[in-house]
């Protein structure tokens, strides 16, 4: 069991009031709050060893370089990557996926080829592939959904054809919470000689991720959704792929030897980290990983399952509520998407906000999925390690208040 009361003490922001009410932060799928330990790591870097990395011959530069590379090693261990060299730092998940689409994609996808995605893709795992397909004359196909918003994997055998080059999928759906069987999908892709990329933005913060067990070729996620600062994303790739891929951006750091005629590239992973990277935030991300490791990812997952079950149960008692996503908490992350009668999610969101409850309302960057579900958007509550059942109660009361508010005026 998580000691939530103790955890909450580490998050200064959780003490604040919003419109005179205690903040109930349930927008963790958008970004998580940051513990004191992460904020301190940022301050410590800037106050005591701020320097550029990899090139300095002075003490500060050596300390900064060591801390930066140490964070990379912690990220590698966190997802059980075989080596820190397989970890490339980017700005965010979106940039990590774009890196793959631009480098691996442009070298390996040609006219008539096919890219396989799912109908629950976040725009970040959709637009880069659509653009690649457009540029190359390739096509994009989608694995559809069942009624409970899980992937329809009937006949998975037959979804691959000889022209399929890449299969990209979310580990956990950001709008429905569905946990996809990525091990099975990546394995199936591999059997058919198809590359796989897993968008782990909603999984890495919430459960134990083992990229070697999943056996995917690429895995991408973001620091800011897992207690870390904004501005840091992670791309894991198999070493051979990084070796053979061309660099994404060109500039300092990513080169070995430069002449007026041309250049050769640095070793992996630095080949993909042109220019001064986000040193401070990467280092603080290391502190975020330490924090999560100390709690234990199995504990994080157990806590979220418990609170998600409670939320589904309590919200489910309201009439006129529509809950999305699988009911079995084994199959879903800590995301609860819902609609209430004919209320628009933004109207719900505005009333909830006045109760101090922060949720997300809208299409969650999954417009095609929303169209598929026949809604313009949903209200979404998403949980993390510091959320309590009492906060779920506040959410439910606020939803009731929103219903009452709009219903009073229907006469």
């Amino acid at each position: 069991m998580l000691d939530v009361a103790r955890i909450r003490k580490d998050f200064p922001i959780l003490d604040r009031m919003v419109y005179g009410k205690p903040l109930v932060y349930l927008d963790n799928a958008a970004t998580s709050q940051k513990p004191r330990q992460v904020i301190d790591a940022l301050v410590r870097y800037y106050e005591t060893y701020n320097a550029n990395i990899h090139r300095a011959v002075h003490c500060l530069g050596e300390e900064a370089t060591a801390a930066y590379e140490e964070a990379r090693a912690r990220v590698a261990a966190f997802i059980n990557a075989p080596s820190p060299e397989c970890i490339v730092f980017t700005r965010n998940t979106t940039e990590a996926i774009n890196l793959v689409a631009y480098t691996w994609g442009r070298a390996n996808v040609s006219e008539g080829d096919e890219i396989l995605l799912t109908e629950m893709e976040h725009h970040s795992n959709l637009i880069p592939w659509q653009r690649l397909a457009q540029d190359k004359g390739a096509t994009v196909r989608y694995i559809g959904l069942r009624d409970d918003q899980t992937l329809d994997l009937n006949g998975l055998e037959n979804v691959f054809d000889a022209r399929t080059k890449m299969m990209a999928m979310p580990h956990v759906s950001n709008s429905m919470g569905t946990i996809n069987p990525v091990e099975k999908l990546a394995g199936e892709a591999r059997r058919h000689g198809v590359m796989s990329l897993v968008d782990g933005a909603q999984a890495a913060p919430h459960m134990k991720v083992d990229v070697q067990a999943i056996n995917c070729d690429f895995y991408a996620f973001s620091a800011h959704k897992m207690l870390g600062p904004t501005g840091v994303g992670v791309l894991y790739a198999r070493r051979e792929l990084l070796e053979e891929m061309e660099p994404f951006l060109g500039g300092g750091e990513m080169i070995r030897k430069v002449t007026f005629e041309g250049a050769t590239w640095n070793d992996i992973p630095w080949k993909f980290e042109a220019g001064t990277p986000n040193i401070a935030d990467v280092i603080a991300f290391g502190a975020a990983i330490d924090y999560l490791n100390e709690i234990g990812m199995d504990e994080v997952r157990a806590h979220e399952m418990e609170i998600t079950e409670y939320a589904l149960q309590q919200l489910g008692k309201l009439d006129d509520i529509i809950l999305y996503g699988p009911r079995d908490s084994q199959q879903r992350g800590g995301v609860v998407s819902f609609n209430v009668a004919d209320l628009h999610p933004h109207d719900i969101g505005t009333v909830l906000d006045r109760h101090g409850v922060a949720i997300r309302a809208g299409h969650h960057c999954t417009q095609p999925l929303m169209r598929r579900l026949g809604v313009s958007g949903t209200a979404r509550a998403s949980f993390y390690i510091y959320n309590t059942p009492q906060e779920v109660d506040v959410l439910v009361e606020a939803v009731k208040a929103a219903r009452k508010f709009f219903r009073n005026d229907t006469a």
Binding site: D347, A361, G362, G377
Partner: protein
Amino acid sequence: MTADDPGRRADYARQEAELDELYRDIILDHYRHPRRKGRLAAPTATHEGLNPLCGDEVTIEVIVRDGRIQDIAYMGSGCSISQSSASMMTEAVHGKPVAEVRGLIADFTAMMRGSDDIDPESLGDLEALGGVRKFPVRVKCATLAWHTLDEALAEPK
């Protein structure tokens, strides 16, 4: 601070007041009972407006004849603010000369920007939408229909 202390009660009261100001009765009335929602048989101009942030959609159809908005209708989906603003707008501009409507669009959007040059009372019922200014993320919902009408009026015949 407990739920009963006077500071907390004042907070509740203030929130309720602000929510009431956002969702004034007339706004909710238009949301529940939209006016001029539908399609025209032979519009002279049609324009679709989209608020990508929240997915609000409004399509405005007009029949402009002799420099006058002879008929107008809207279709759409979205939050109460975006849809009632569309409904209130169609009622406000129906039958009016285009030049006057352009002025009204300018006045309305100026009010939503918080301009001091506009006396909200001069806008009649539309003044009710002024309460949305206290909710900055929702201002775009309120102005969507108006920008869409502006575009429709700019379309070549």
